[in-house]
C-alpha cells in the first residue's frame, strides 16, 4: 500500500513537471473552464428566470445550483484525473506501448489509471467546490448531511471511473474508443439538472440504465437532507459492483492482449 502511495507521488511529480513546460496553455484551459461553467449556469439561469418559476423538478434555485456544482466538480474530476489517463489506453494498445506498462512490477490497472494528470483543469474542481459552497451557504446543512454527501460523492466518482475504464478497455478489441467517451459525455450532459426535472420515463432511464442520477443528484440530496434510504444504499452498492465488474473486464482484456506486432 505505501508503495502504491509512493508511486502515485512520483507519477504526480513527473506529470506536473511535464505540464509546467507548457504554461501558455493555462490561458486556454481557463477559457475552457469558463465555457463549461457558463453552459451549466445559463441552463439553470434561464429555467429559473421565467416569471412564476420557483422550483425546477421540486428543487429551489439554491438546491439546483448544488447539482450544478456537483456537475462541475465531476467534470473537473474527469478532466483532471480520469480522461488524461483513459485516453492514453487506446493509444498504448494501438502502438504496443502497453507492453511497458504490463511488464512493470505493479498492478497494470493502477498504472494506467494514475500515471497522468491534467493540472490545467484544476479550475473546474475549484469552480465546482465554490458553487457547492455558495449554494450550501444559503441552505441548512447538517454535519450528517455533509458526511453523507462526501461518502456518496466518493462512490459517484468510483462509478464515473468505472464507466470510463470499461469504455476505454474496449480498446483492446476495437482500437478506437474516443467515440465511446463522446457518447458518455452526451448522456452525462443530463447530470447538469436534478433528475426529477426530467419527464418520468427519462428519469427512470437516468437512474437505472445510466446511473447519471447517482453522480450529481444523489450527493446533492444528501446535503439537503431529502435523500431516501434506498438511494443512499444503492449508490455505494452500484459503485462496488461496478468496480468488481470493470476489474474483471480489465483482467480479461489484458489476458487477450497480444501486443502490436503479433
Amino acid at each position: 500500500m505505501t508503495r502504491y502511495l509512493r508511486l502515485m507521488r512520483l507519477f504526480t511529480g513527473a506529470t506536473l513537471s511535464a505540464q509546467l513546460e507548457y504554461r501558455a496553455n493555462f490561458l486556454g484551459a481557463i477559457l475552457a473552464s469558463l465555457g463549461e461553467v457558463g453552459v451549466a449556469l445559463l441552463g439553470i439561469g434561464v429555467l429559473f428566470g421565467q416569471p412564476g418559476t420557483e422550483t425546477v423538478g421540486g428543487w429551489t434555485f439554491r438546491e439546483a445550483l448544488l447539482v450544478t456544482g456537483f456537475f462541475m466538480l465531476t467534470e473537473g474530476v474527469i478532466s483532471v484525473f480520469i480522461q488524461p489517463n483513459m485516453s492514453k489506453i487506446a493509444e498504448a494498445v494501438r502502438t504496443g506501448s502497453m507492453d511497458f506498462t504490463l511488464l512493470k512490477p505493479l498492478d497494470a490497472q493502477f498504472g494506467v489509471s494514475t500515471r497522468h494528470l491534467n493540472v490545467l483543469r484544476v479550475g473546474d474542481l475549484l469552480i465546482g467546490l465554490g458553487l457547492i459552497a455558495y449554494a450550501a451557504s444559503g441552505l441548512t446543512v447538517t454535519g450528517g448531511g455533509l458526511a453523507g454527501a462526501a461518502v456518496l460523492y466518493l462512490s459517484a466518482v468510483v462509478i464515473v471511473y468505472c464507466i470510463w475504464l470499461a469504455l476505454s478497455t474496449t480498446a483492446f478489441w476495437f482500437v478506437k474508443t474516443q467515440n465511446a467517451s463522446e457518447l458518455f459525455n452526451g448522456v452525462f450532459g443530463a447530470a447538469r439538472f436534478p433528475v426529477t426535472a426530467f419527464p418520468v420515463p427519462v428519469r427512470a432511464l437516468l437512474t437505472f440504465v445510466v446511473p447519471v442520477a447517482l453522480i450529481t443528484t444523489v450527493p446533492a440530496q444528501a446535503l439537503t437532507g431529502t435523500l431516501t434510504p434506498a438511494l443512499a444504499l444503492a449508490s455505494p452498492l452500484v459503485a462496488g459492483a461496478a468496480f468488481v465488474l470493470t476489474r474483471l473486464f480489465w483482467l480479461r482484456a489484458v489476458a487477450s492482449y497480444t501486443s502490436a506486432s503479433s
Partner: protein, 267 residues
C-alpha cells in the same frame, strides 16, 4: 466555367468518399451533441408540472417541436474546421496544400457539405423517432421547410467562416480550440439552444437581434415548428447575409496575416 465545375465535382466526390468511410462516427457525433435534447426534456417537465400546463405559452409538445427543430438545424450547422486547421498548422501539413492553385478553404468546405449528405438519412430517422416519442409536431407548409433550409445553409456558411478564423488563430497560439469553446457558448445561448429567444431578458434579446446567431438556429427551428412567418425568414436572411460578407473579409484578412507569420515545422 467547365474548369470550375470540374474542380467542384472532384472536390465534392473525393470528400464524399472520405466521409462515407466515417459513417459510423458521423452517427456517434450526432448523438454526442445532446444539449438541446436535454433542455427539451427539462422544459417539457417544467411545462407539464406548471399549473396551466404551459410556460410562457409553450405546452410540452410545443417545447418538443421547438427543441427538435433546434437539434435538426444544429446538425446542419456542425463545423469542425477549426480543429483540423489547428492540427494542420501545428504539424505543418498545411505546407503542401499551399502549393496548390486553390485556397485550402474550399477543400474543407466541400468536406463539410459532403458530410451533411452522409448525415442526412440517420438524422431524419432519429428526428422522426424523437418526434414520435416526445409528441412534437411540425409545420405542414413546404415553404417553411425551404426557408429553414436556406437559413441553415447561410448560417452554416457564416459559422464555417468564423470557425475558420478561430482555427487560423493556431498561427499565433497553441490554445485556439479554447477560444472556440467560448464562441460556441455565445452561439448556443443567443442561438436559442437553452430556450427560445423570447425567454431571455429584454436587454439580451435587444443585443441578440443584431448578431447572426438567432437567425441561424432559433429562427429555422421556429419555422419548422410553424411559429415564425416567411417575413421573419426574409429579415433573418438579410442579417445573416450581411454577417456572411463581414466574416468573408475577416477570414481573408486573418488568412493573409497568418500566412505571413507561418513558418512550417523545422523552418
Amino acid at each position: 466555367m467547365t474548369a470550375l465545375w470540374r474542380k467542384v465535382r472532384v472536390l465534392f466526390s473525393t470528400r464524399f468518399a472520405e466521409m462515407v468511410e466515417y459513417r459510423a462516427e458521423v452517427v456517434i457525433w450526432m448523438l454526442s451533441g445532446t444539449l438541446s435534447l436535454v433542455m427539451m426534456l427539462v422544459w417539457m417537465g417544467q411545462a407539464a408540472s406548471a399549473p396551466d400546463g404551459r410556460i410562457n405559452g409553450y405546452t410540452p409538445a410545443e417545447f418538443a417541436s421547438y427543441f427538435l427543430g433546434v437539434w435538426v438545424t444544429g446538425q446542419l450547422l456542425v463545423v469542425w474546421v477549426a480543429w483540423e486547421l489547428d492540427m494542420e498548422v501545428r504539424q505543418g501539413t498545411l505546407s503542401p496544400k499551399l502549393l496548390r492553385p486553390l485556397d485550402p478553404m474550399w477543400e474543407h468546405y466541400a468536406a463539410h457539405v459532403a458530410e451533411r449528405v452522409v448525415r442526412l438519412p440517420a438524422m431524419l430517422g432519429l428526428v422522426a423517432l424523437f418526434a414520435w416519442l416526445a409528441g412534437a409536431s411540425f409545420s405542414t407548409d413546404p415553404l417553411n421547410y425551404l426557408a429553414a433550409f436556406g437559413l441553415a445553409m447561410l448560417g452554416f456558411s457564416a459559422r464555417f467562416l468564423w470557425e475558420y478564423c478561430l482555427g487560423l488563430l493556431a498561427f499565433w497560439t497553441e490554445s485556439s480550440s479554447s477560444f472556440g469553446e467560448v464562441v460556441w457558448l455565445v452561439y448556443a445561448a443567443l442561438g436559442g439552444m437553452f430556450a427560445p429567444l423570447a425567454f431571455y431578458p429584454q436587454w439580451v434579446q435587444n443585443i441578440a437581434v443584431w448578431t447572426p446567431f438567432p437567425y441561424m438556429l432559433g429562427l429555422p427551428a421556429q419555422l419548422l415548428a410553424g411559429k415564425a412567418s416567411l417575413a421573419d425568414a426574409g429579415r433573418g436572411a438579410l442579417v445573416l447575409g450581411a454577417w456572411l460578407i463581414v466574416f468573408w473579409f475577416v477570414r481573408l484578412a486573418v488568412w493573409r496575416l497568418g500566412l505571413r507569420k507561418y513558418g512550417a515545422v523545422g523552418a
